[in-house]
């Protein structure tokens, strides 16, 4: 991107007092809000309509592991704002260090989610299961059917789409890091870091809601 184009991107949109790139990212994030609302809304409605297909928290899903994963994502949000704060001060090395930390923590989140999926599938908790009998470490007793097809379908749809967003975010963070390594950001040109941060914090925000609704309620 040329300096002229970057300056144009940073120019505030008349009437909004927000530069165009950021306004575009906010509009994109609002469309994402509606996307995830559709998923969460469907889950809530299905859960009310078919309570027998879902289980109490901690019976099937590994809450301590996911709480740890939530903690990871919260930490990645703080490293992302630290990266932004660093480049605001013109600290190139600080920007790179905090971005790298965000990439590593974000990738760890995805890794833990993959581990969780493998464990759940190993226990038979798959989207197409007609009825899921929880066995193994989560099951306090043997016997009864504790979950149905809707549980697995909604769980994997919501967490899978979120995981895809995190994975895309990690790739975008790598691109941002690559640009930072080339010294393309400065205190006067930090739009790319700010926009990347907006996306990353949004992903964190969505997970905060998903974790509560899917794992704790």
């Amino acid at each position: 991107m040329t300096t002229q184009a970057m300056t144009a991107g940073r120019a505030p949109m008349p009437g909004m007092k927000v530069y165009n790139l950021k306004l575009g990212m906010w509009i994109f994030l609002l469309s994402e809000v509606m996307f995830f609302t559709g998923l969460i809304g469907s889950y809530v409605i299905l859960r009310f309509a078919h309570p027998g297909q879902f289980t109490e928290p901690g019976v099937v899903l590994n809450v301590p592991l996911t709480a740890f994963n939530t903690f990871l994502l919260i930490c990645s949000s703080v490293t992302m704002v630290k990266a932004y704060a660093a480049i605001q001060q013109g600290d190139q090395q600080g920007l790179k260090n905090w971005l790298l930390a965000t990439i590593l923590i974000g990738a760890s989140f995805v890794g833990v989610q993959v581990y969780e999926y493998i464990a759940l599938v190993g226990e038979g908790f798959v989207p197409v299961a007609e009825a899921y009998h929880a066995v193994g470490r989560h099951m306090p007793h043997d016997g009864p059917v504790v979950g149905g097809q809707l549980y697995g379908s909604t769980f994997y749809t919501m967490t899978g789409f979120h995981g895809a967003h995190v994975s895309i975010g990690v790739l975008c963070l790598c691109f941002t890091y690559w640009r930072a390594a080339k010294g393309e950001y400065s205190a006067d040109n930090l739009g790319g870091v700010e926009i990347m941060g907006l996306y990353w914090h949004f992903v964190d925000l969505v997970w905060i809601i998903l974790f509560t609704i899917v794992y704790l309620i």
Binding site: L30, I45, I74, M80, G197, L198, F211
Partner: protein, 92 residues
């Protein structure tokens, strides 16, 4: 920052601590069996939305954005309410 106006550095680490403590509180609260299910759900949702608000206001810097952006961001909220409550109305 948002509109180029100077302001105090946001309390990033304090917000992080708040998010961490609220997450711990949520996990502990979710497993209290003595509380009716409805109150558990309401308490958990309130904590989750407060955490989401902290992220949006401090980490996404909404606190320092112009009011017009706030208005734009708040557009999906009534739409979310309509989606949830109108369709729930079909069930009950």
């Amino acid at each position: 920052m948002s509109t180029g106006e100077a302001h105090k550095p946001p309390p990033y680490m304090l917000v992080w601590l708040g998010l961490f403590l609220l997450t711990m509180a949520e996990v502990g609260y979710a497993f209290i069996t003595a509380i009716p299910k409805l109150w558990l759900a309401i308490g958990l949702i309130v904590m989750a939305f407060y955490k989401a608000w902290l992220v949006a206001v401090y980490y996404m810097h909404l606190k320092w954005e112009p009011k017009r952006l706030w208005l734009m961001v708040s557009v999906p909220i009534p739409l979310i309410m309509i989606l949830i409550f109108v369709v729930l109305n079909e069930i009950f």
